[in-house]
C-alpha cells in the first residue's frame, strides 16, 4: 500500500489510559486495514488491533525524552496512547494513519477505499447474496397488517423520482391520490412528504413522518392539507391527529425566514400541533464531545466527572429524545390518535423519535430481529445520512453527529429500566454501534453496488445471536407485553459506561451477571437433553448397558473464564507512592468485535490471556455442572482450585 510510509516500528509503548504508569512495550505494525500492536512478552501473545476506518483522529504530541506521543481516538470510543521512540518514526506513522483513516471515493474507477469492499470473510458468493435477503421490510409491513383498506402501498416513488432519500416502497393513506402525494411532496423539504412509519393494527392509529413544510410566513398547499386529512381519515376512530415538530420552537420559527417552517393549525383541519424541542445535530455533536471529554479525564474526582457530565448536556438530550418517543407512543397506544412527526429534513430527529416510539409500542422491535428491522426501516430506508453523520468518507466535519448513538442509548436506557423486556443485550447494541462506524459491512453506506460486493451486518449478527441474547428475556413475561411506560425522572438516566468507557476494562464490573446466567442456561439445556434421553430410554426399556453409556457423557466443562477473566488488580488507590504493585495489563477486548473473522490469531490471543487468579473470577466462571458424585476431570480449573 502506497500510503504506508512505515510498516513496522519496534519498542513502542502503549500506555494504559486509566493509570498511565502502566504500559506495555511492543511492536507496532501498519497494514492496509489495521494498526496492530503486539506486546513483547514471552509466553503471552497479546495483540491490540485497530481498524483504520474506526479511527476518528490521530494526534501527534511534542517529542519528549521518553519518545514521541501518538494519540489515536476511535469512533467506538477507544483511545490509544502510543509512545514511539523516535520522532521521525512517529511522524511517519502519524501521516500514514491520517491517510489510511480517511478513505477516498473514486467514482470513476468504481472503486473506493472503504473497508467493506476489501472485507472478505470466508463466505461463498451465493451465501453472500443471501445475506442481503435476510431482512425484508415488506414482511414487517405485512406483520403490521398492511396493506389494508386504510393504507396502501404506493408506487409513486418507484424510481426515487418524488424523493430520492425515501424508499421506493411507501405506505400512504388509501384516500391519498398520486396528485395529492406529489403536490404534498413539493411543499416539503427535499420532497419528503408525509408517509407511514408505523401502524397499530389494534386501534388503527399510525405514526407518519415527513420533513418540514415549506410554509414560510404564510404559504399554503392544498395537497399537503389534503394529505394530512387523508392520514386522519385512515384512523376511523379518531377525530384529530397530532403534528409533532421535534425541533425547539425557536429553530422552527427561524426556518420560516428561509421559506420553511411548520404547520399552521388554522390551515389544517383537526390537527393538534406540538413542539418537542430536541436540539440539532451541531448541539448533539458538541455535547458528545464534551461528554467524552469527561470520560477521558485522567483520574478525575467524582465532582470533575459529574460536572463534566452535567455541562455536556448529554443526558438532557437523551431524555429529550426519549420524552418525545414517549409522547408519540402514548398518543398511539393510549389515545388511539395518529401522529405526524417531522423536524427539518426528517432524517435525524424524526428517525430517532419514530424508532424510539416503535420500541416503546411494539414488543417485536424489542427482539433481536425486530431491532434490526427497525434500524433498516426507520434509519436506512428512510435515508438517515450515515456516511455524513458517521464520517465514513472524508467530508464536512459539521455534518458529523451522533444521532444514531442517541437512539441506541435510548434503547439501552430502556433496557436498564426493563431488564426482562428485551430479547437482546447491551453487547448487541454496542456491536451494532461499532459496525455502523466501522464500514466493515455495506448496510450503512450509501453507494451503488453495495449489495453486489459487500456483506450485510444483519445476517452476521443473526448467525452469532447466541452472543446477544438477554438471558432474562422471556416472550411470555409481563414486561415483554405491550407498551413500555418508562420513568423519565432525571435520576432514571444513567451514564452508559459500557459504551463510552468500553475499552477501560478496569472500570467495568468484574463479574458479569449476564454471562453467568447465560452459562447457567446453557447448562440447563444440556441437563434437559440428558433427562429427555434418560426418559426415552426408560420408556423404551433399553438395556442397562446403553444407559450407562449415555450417563457417562457429562456436560461440557464451563469455559467462560476467558470472557470473564478480566484483569483484577488494584487500581491506583495511592496517588502514586506505592510502586511495587504487580499488575497485569490486558489488551482491550475490542478485538473480538473489531475483526472477528479477520484473524485467527485473535481468538488464540484471547484464549491465551489467562485469568488473574487474584480476582477469583476464573473460579466463579468454572462451574462444575454436576455435584459431588459426578466424575471430575482432574485437569479442570475447578479441581486445581479446590486443591489450592
Amino acid at each position: 500500500m502506497e500510503h504506508i510510509r512505515l510498516p513496522k516500528v519496534e519498542n513502542v509503548r502503549l500506555l494504559d489510559r486509566v493509570s498511565p504508569r502502566r504500559s506495555r512495550v511492543g511492536t507496532l505494525y501498519l497494514t492496509a486495514t489495521h494498526t496492530i500492536f503486539v506486546e513483547n512478552k514471552t509466553g503471552v501473545r497479546n495483540e491490540t488491533w485497530v481498524l483504520h476506518s474506526l479511527v476518528c483522529s490521530v494526534e501527534k504530541q511534542a517529542a519528549a525524552a521518553s519518545g514521541c506521543s501518538l494519540l489515536i481516538h476511535c469512533k467506538n470510543f477507544q483511545v490509544l496512547h502510543f509512545v514511539v521512540p523516535r520522532e521521525q518514526e512517529c511522524h511517519d506513522v502519524h501521516l500514514s494513519l491520517q491517510r489510511l483513516s480517511q478513505p477516498v471515493l473514486c467514482l470513476a474507477e468504481r472503486h473506493t477505499e472503504l473497508y467493506c469492499f476489501s472485507y472478505k470473510p470466508n463466505v461463498d458468493e451465493k451465501e453472500r447474496c443471501q445475506e442481503w435477503d435476510f431482512l425484508d421490510l415488506k414482511a414487517d409491513y405485512s406483520r403490521m397488517g398492511l396493506p389494508n383498506s386504510l393504507w396502501k402501498l404506493s408506487p409513486v416513488n418507484q424510481h426515487y423520482k418524488v424523493s430520492d432519500s425515501y424508499p421506493a416502497d411507501l405506505f400512504v393513506p388509501a384516500s391519498a391520490t398520486p396528485p395529492v402525494i406529489v403536490g404534498s411532496s413539493k411543499f416539503r423539504s427535499r420532497g419528503r412528504f408525509p408517509t407511514l412509519s408505523y401502524y397499530s393494527k389494534e386501534n388503527h392509529a399510525a405514526i407518519c413522518r415527513s420533513s418540514q413544510p415549506l410554509s414560510g410566513f404564510s404559504a399554503r398547499c392544498l395537497e399537503d392539507e389534503q394529505m394530512l386529512e387523508a392520514i386522519l381519515r385512515s384512523n376511523p376512530c379518531s377525530d384529530f391527529m397530532y403534528v409533532v415538530d421535534t425541533r425547539p420552537k425557536l429553530n422552527a420559527i427561524a426556518n420560516r425566514a428561509a421559506g420553511k417552517g411548520y404547520e399552521n393549525e388554522d390551515n389544517y383541519s383537526n390537527i393538534k400541533f406540538q413542539f418537542i424541542g430536541i436540539e440539532n445535530i451541531h448541539v448533539m455533536r458538541n455535547s458528545q464531545q464534551k461528554m467524552l471529554g469527561a470520560c477521558e479525564l485522567r483520574s478525575p474526582s467524582m465532582s470533575d466527572f459529574l460536572e463534566g457530565l452535567e455541562s455536556s448536556g448529554w443526558l438532557k438530550h437523551i431524555k429529550a429524545v426519549l420524552d418525545a418517543g414517549i409522547f408519540i407512543a402514548k398518543a398511539v397506544a393510549e389515545e388511539g390518535v395518529s401522529v405526524l412527526v417531522h423536524c427539518s429534513d426528517g432524517w435525524d430527529r424524526t428517525a430517532q423519535v419514530c424508532s424510539v416510539a416503535c420500541v416503546l409500542l411494539d414488543p417485536y422491535y424489542r427482539t433481536l430481529r425486530g431491532l434490526m428491522v427497525l434500524i433498516e426501516k426507520d434509519w436506512v430506508s428512510f435515508g438517515h445520512k450515515f456516511s455524513h453523520r458517521c464520517n465514513h468518507l472524508v467530508g464536512d466535519p459539521k455534518e458529523v453527529s451522533p444521532i444514531i448513538d442517541q437512539f441506541l442509548e435510548c434503547v439501552w436506557q430502556l433496557m436498564e429500566q426493563f431488564p426482562c423486556a428485551f430479547e437482546f443485550n447491551a453487547r448487541f447494541l454496542i456491536t451494532i454501534h461499532s459496525h455502523i462506524y466501522s464500514c466493515q459491512y455495506g448496510n450503512f453506506i450509501d453507494l451503488k453496488l453495495l449489495r453486489e460486493r459487500t456483506h450485510s451486518l444483519w445476517s452476521y449478527l443473526w448467525k452469532n445471536q447466541a452472543d446477544y441474547i438477554n438471558p432474562l428475556y422471556r416472550p411470555d413475561h409481563s414486561q415483554t407485553q405491550g407498551l413500555l411506560r418508562p420513568s423519565t425522572a432525571p435520576y432514571c438516566f444513567k451514564f452508559w459506561r459500557g459504551l463510552y468507557n468500553r475499552f477501560d476494562q478496569g472500570m467495568h464490573p468484574r463479574q458479569s451477571v449476564e454471562d453467568y446466567l447465560r452459562a447457567i442456561r446453557e447448562e440447563t439445556q444440556q441437563l434437559e437433553e440428558q433427562l429427555k434421553i434418560a426418559h426415552l430410554e426408560q420408556e423404551q426399556e433399553w438395556s442397562v448397558t446403553q444407559k450407562a453409556v449415555t450417563f457417562d457423557k457429562s456436560p461440557t466443562a464451563w469455559a467462560l473464564g476467558n470472557d470473564l477473566g478480566l484483569a483484577n488488580t488494584p487500581q491506583d488507590y495511592t496517588g502514586g507512592f506505592i510502586t511495587s504493585s504487580p499488575c497485569q495489563p490486558k489488551a482491550p477486548d475490542g478485538r473480538r468485535i473489531l475483526l472477528t473473522q479477520d484473524s485467527n490469531q485473535t481468538s488464540e490471543s484471547n484464549l491465551s490471556s489467562g485469568s488473574d487468579q487474584e480476582s477469583g473470577i476464573a473460579d466463579v466462571s468454572c462451574r462444575s455442572p454436576l455435584s459431588t458424585d459426578s466424575t471430575r476431570d482432574p485437569d479442570s480449573d475447578e479441581a486445581a482450585y479446590s486443591a489450592a
Binding site: 452535567e310 432525571p490 435520576y491 468507557n501 467495568h508 451477571v513 453467568y516 433427562l531
Partner: protein, 549 residues
C-alpha cells in the same frame, strides 16, 4: 413516665393514608406507645405499622378543616396522612413529635418487643470476641486476648476483651491508652492469613502541639511488625486537618518517633459534613423539577458520591498495603470510631471472603462497628429529614453499607447476601424492634442489659426462612481478594436506598426474581440428573454383567 401522657388523641377515624406506589387506604389511625397504626378494618387490606422511632420529622398542612401530616421516615420514605378535623390533626402531630423524639433508651420499643418467632440461635451470643479469638488462635500464636478493659475503665468505647500482641503486657496497654484519643489504644482489627500481616485500629495519638511521645504506644505498635519490616499508618484525615488537631491535643505519629512506619493521609470527611451531604442528596432525589441539569448539579453538590469514592479508595489502599505490599497497617482518624471503622471494615470485605457471607458480614458489623464502639445511638438519632440542628448525627454506617453495595455491584457473584440484606441492616440501624443497634458502646449495652432484655436482629435473621430471602442466588464462593474499581464511572447511586421511594422497582424486582427462577430450575435439573446417576450406580453394582466390560 407513661406513654399515655404523650398521646393526646389515641384514635381518629376516617383518615386517608397515601404511600408511594400503593393505593390510598382509608381507615382508623391509632397511636400506641411505640407505633403509629392505620387500619382500614377491612379483612383483606393491609395495615400500616410504623415505629415512632422511625419517624425523622413531620410536616403539617391545612386546607380548610382537613389537616395533612407528612411523615418523613428515617428509612427515607414519606407518607401522608389526611386527618379530618383541625384539632385531631394537631393533637396527632404533637403526639407523634413527642413519641418519636424520646431520648430515654429504656423506653425504646426493643425493651417491649416480644418475638413472635422461634429463636433458633440467640444472636447476642453469636459473635463474642472470645469466639473470634479462637479463630485467630488457629492461625497464629502471636496474639493474646487482653482483659485490661474488663470494667471499661481503660477505654469506655472498647469491649471488655481485645486482641493485642502477645508480648505486650496490660500495663503497657494502659499507658498507651492514655496517649490515644478516647483511650482507644491500638488493637487488632484483622489478621491476613495469607501472609500474616495485620490491620490495627486506634484513636489519634495525643501528641499535642509540643510533640508528646509515648514509648509504650510505640512499643505496642512496633510489636506488630516483623523484624526489619515497615508498616503503614493510614490517617483518614488530610495532613492539614491532622495538623490542626494538634492544637486540640490530638495529632499524628511523627516520623522521628515512629521510624518503622510510613504515614499516609487520606481525606475522609468528618461527621457533620457527611450528615449535611446525606441531607442534600436526599433533597436532590426528592426534587420534582424533572430537569436533568438540576438533578446532576444537585447530585454533584451533595458530594455523597465523592465520600463513597474517598472511603472506598482508602479501604482499598489499606487492603493493598496488607495484601500486595506485605505490610501491616494501623488505621486511625480522630476518635477512631467512624472513618477508621469504615476503612477497616471495608478492607476486610475486600480481603476476607468470610466477610462476604451473610454470617460473616454480621460478624464484621459486630466486631468492627458495634463492639468497636461506633456510637450508633448518636449517629443514627436522626436521618436526612431532620429539622433539628444536627448534634452528633452522621451517616458513617450508611456510607459503609453504600460502599459494600458498590463492591457487590462490581462482584455480583462473590457475596452470599443480596442487596436486600444491606437495606435491612440500614433500616434496623436507624429504627428497629431489635436491640442490636441500641446504645453507643458495649459498655452502654451491658449497662442496659440489652442481651437479657431485648432480642438481637441476628436472632431474627439467622432463621432458614429469612436467610433464604436474603441470599444472593448468584453466589459462588470466591476465596480470593477482590479489588473494586473506584473510578467515578464505576460508582453508582445506591438506588435501592436513595430512590427506593421515588420510583417503582417492580421491573427490577421482576428481573431479580427471573434470575432466581433460572438458577433454581438449573439446580432442580442437576438434582434429577444426580439422582438418576445414583440409581444407575446401584444398578451397576447389582448387575454383575456390568462389572466386566
Amino acid at each position: 413516665m407513661e406513654f399515655a401522657e404523650l398521646i393526646k388523641t389515641p384514635r381518629v377515624d376516617g383518615v386517608a393514608l397515601h404511600r408511594p406506589f400503593m393505593p390510598t387506604v382509608e381507615g382508623t389511625l391509632c397511636l400506641t406507645g411505640h407505633h403509629l397504626i392505620l387500619s382500614s378494618r377491612q379483612d383483606n387490606t393491609e395495615e400500616l405499622w410504623l415505629l415512632h422511632s422511625n419517624i425523622d420529622s413531620i410536616e403539617k398542612r391545612f386546607v380548610g378543616s382537613l389537616g395533612s401530616i407528612i411523615v418523613k421516615c428515617k428509612d427515607l420514605r414519606m407518607i401522608q396522612l389526611d386527618i379530618p378535623g383541625m384539632e385531631e390533626c394537631l393533637n396527632i402531630a404533637s403526639s407523634i413529635e413527642a413519641l418519636s423524639t424520646l431520648d430515654l433508651l429504656s423506653l425504646m420499643y426493643p425493651f417491649f418487643y416480644r418475638p413472635m418467632f422461634e429463636v433458633i440461635e440467640d444472636g447476642w451470643n453469636s459473635f463474642l470476641p472470645e469466639d473470634a479469638f479462637k479463630d485467630l488462635e488457629s492461625m497464629t500464636d502471636e496474639w493474646r486476648l487482653s482483659e485490661v478493659n474488663k470494667d471499661f475503665s481503660v477505654c469506655p468505647s472498647y469491649p471488655p476483651l481485645v486482641a493485642v500482641p502477645k508480648y505486650v503486657d496490660d500495663d503497657t496497654l494502659k499507658k498507651a491508652a492514655t496517649f490515644r484519643h478516647g483511650g482507644r489504644f491500638p488493637v487488632l482489627s484483622y489478621y491476613h492469613k495469607k501472609n500474616g500481616m495485620v490491620m490495627m485500629r486506634a484513636g489519634q495519638p495525643l501528641t499535642g502541639t509540643n510533640g508528646r511521645r509515648c514509648k509504650e504506644d510505640e512499643k505496642l505498635i512496633n510489636a506488630t511488625l516483623r523484624p526489619g519490616k515497615r508498616g503503614y499508618i493510614i490517617d483518614t484525615r488530610t495532613i492539614n486537618v491532622a495538623q490542626q488537631a494538634k492544637a486540640r491535643g490530638g495529632g499524628f505519629e511523627s516520623e522521628a518517633n515512629y521510624p518503622q512506619w510510613r504515614r499516609i493521609h487520606k481525606a475522609i470527611e468528618r461527621s457533620n459534613i457527611l450528615q449535611e451531604s446525606l441531607i442534600k442528596l436526599v433533597e436532590a432525589c426528592n426534587d420534582q423539577s424533572h430537569s436533568m441539569d438540576r438533578w446532576l448539579s444537585k447530585l454533584e453538590a451533595s458530594n455523597w458520591q465523592t465520600h463513597v469514592k474517598e472511603i472506598l479508595t482508602t479501604a482499598c489502599l489499606a487492603a493493598q498495603c496488607i495484601d500486595r505490599e506485605g505490610a501491616s497497617v494501623l488505621v486511625h482518624g480522630t476518635e477512631g470510631t467512624d472513618s477508621t471503622l469504615q476503612v477497616t471494615s471495608l478492607a476486610q470485605i475486600i480481603l476476607d471472603p468470610a466477610c462476604r457471607t451473610i454470617r460473616g458480614f454480621q460478624g464484621l458489623v459486630e466486631r468492627e462497628w458495634l463492639q468497636a464502639g461506633h456510637p450508633f445511638q448518636q449517629r443514627c438519632a436522626q436521618s436526612a429529614y431532620s429539622n433539628s440542628k444536627p448534634r452528633q448525627e452522621a451517616p458513617s454506617f450508611l456510607l459503609f453499607l453504600d460502599c459494600v453495595w458498590q463492591i457487590l455491584r462490581q462482584f455480583p457473584c462473590s457475596f452470599e447476601f443480596s442487596e436486600g440484606f444491606l437495606v435491612l441492616v440500614f433500616e434496623h440501624a436507624y429504627a428497629s424492634q431489635f436491640g442490636t443497634f441500641l446504645g453507643n458502646s458495649t459498655a452502654e449495652r451491658a449497662k442496659l442489659s440489652l442481651p437479657e432484655k431485648t432480642v438481637s436482629l441476628w436472632s431474627w435473621v439467622n432463621r432458614p426462612q429469612e436467610l433464604e430471602r436474603l441470599t444472593n442466588p448468584l453466589y459462588e464462593a470466591n476465596s480470593l481478594v477482590i479489588w473494586p474499581s473506584v473510578a467515578p464511572q464505576s460508582l453508582l447511586l445506591w438506588e435501592g436506598v436513595f430512590l427506593r421511594w421515588n420510583r417503582s422497582s417492580k421491573c427490577l424486582d421482576e428481573a431479580y426474581e427471573e434470575m432466581g427462577h433460572i438458577i433454581a430450575y438449573n439446580k432442580e435439573l442437576q438434582n434429577k440428573v444426580n439422582s438418576l446417576r445414583r440409581q444407575l450406580a446401584q444398578l451397576e453394582t447389582e448387575d454383575p454383567l456390568l462389572q466386566s466390560p
